[in-house]
């Protein structure tokens, strides 16, 4: 379920995705938004996140920003799909440091900490 999971951090980044059920939703393609986001996202985290949800089309290394304005939409389409159309419906987000699992039910990750974790 989107990049926010990949970025929604409590203690340790990035959270690993344990995919139970992944759904795909079609979302309108908005190149300007994608360019805006491209500058902000942690590329490796996105690649890992997308891969754990079964989408392995993103290049391993962050492409040069010139690709965004090259007129070739292939890359933007892939980014669009990974960022906006893949939703983690059921599964968990796992802290890379502690192994703590944050469950995801009905698409909503539960990031609440236990009393002894605050």
């Amino acid at each position: 379920m989107l990049s926010c999971n990949i970025k929604g951090v409590s203690n340790g980044f990035p959270l690993r995705i344990e995919a139970g059920k992944v759904i795909e939703k079609e979302v309108d393609f908005n190149p300007d938004f994608l360019k805006h986001m491209f500058a902000k996202i942690e590329w490796k985290a996105l690649v890992e996140g997308a891969r754990s949800m079964g989408y392995a089309e993103l290049p391993e290394d962050s492409p040069d920003a010139t690709v965004l304005d090259s007129g070739d939409e292939t890359f933007l389409r892939k980014l669009h799909h990974a960022l906006l159309e893949l939703h983690l419906e059921e599964g968990a987000l796992v802290c890379p440091e502690t192994g703590r699992k944050f469950p995801v039910n009905k698409g909503i990750p539960n990031m609440l900490l236990h009393e002894d974790e605050v």
Binding site: M1, L2, K7, E42, I108, L112
Partner: protein
């Protein structure tokens, strides 16, 4: 979208079926919510094509308003799973795309400056002292462009001082004063309905 149209759509949303007083759950009415987001969009351009976060989103009224005004990506955060369930239904009903996360605002950390604009109707801190300040502090850390929030008019000076001094705000401005009509929701409410004066604030975070 016209203001009236936005207000109409928000008026159809489901609100708390079983409000929890300890969380100060009061619905954000369609009147206030529509004006808040409409101002953010039309006076400041802070909503459309932006990444918007709604803190303490409850049933998702402000999130939905942001999505209806063409925010490119909307996230709603709340501690209460039941509210989030209602919020999810509301988003489905309006056919808008919103991601909800269950978390405690006070220990939420987001990586990077992803969020452009934060919108919220936080607890006013009447039941839990300082809850309003915790929300404001969290929002100011996350948003890179602007924070819109509602606070009791009686706390105006306090809010302004804290925002500028403690929460790294470049500016803190009251955009308008609104009447928040609180329906009788809880047993301890003696009157049927009561209007309280609230300020609609716009804060600009200092660039880090």
């Amino acid at each position: 979208m016209k203001l009236k149209q936005l207000e109409g759509l928000l008026g159809d949303l489901q609100q708390f079926s079983n409000p929890k007083v300890e969380l100060e759950q009061y619905p954000t009415g369609p009147h206030i919510a529509s004006r808040m987001l409409f101002t953010a969009e039309n006076s400041y351009g802070d909503i459309s094509d932006k990444v918007v976060a709604d803190f303490g989103c409850g049933c998702g009224t402000l999130s939905a308003a942001a999505a209806l005004l063409d925010a490119s990506y909307v996230m709603g955060f709340d501690i209460d799973p039941q509210s989030l369930e209602t919020a999810t239904l509301n988003a489905e009903e309006l056919e808008v795309e919103i991601d909800f996360v269950q978390c405690d605002i006070t220990n939420l950390e987001l990586k990077g400056q992803i969020v452009d604009t934060a919108v919220m109707n936080p607890p006013f801190g009447t039941r839990k002292k300082g809850a309003d300040m915790e929300f404001l502090s969290a929002a100011m850390k996350v948003a890179s462009q602007a924070v819109y929030s509602l606070h009791k008019t009686s706390t105006r000076e306090h809010i302004k001082r804290a925002a500028l001094r403690d929460f790294n705000a470049k500016s803190a401005e009251v955009l308008c004063e609104l009447q928040y009509d609180l329906p009788k929701l809880y047993k301890f409410h003696k009157r049927k309905e009561v209007d309280i004066a609230v300020d609609l604030w716009r804060f600009e975070p200092r660039q880090n």
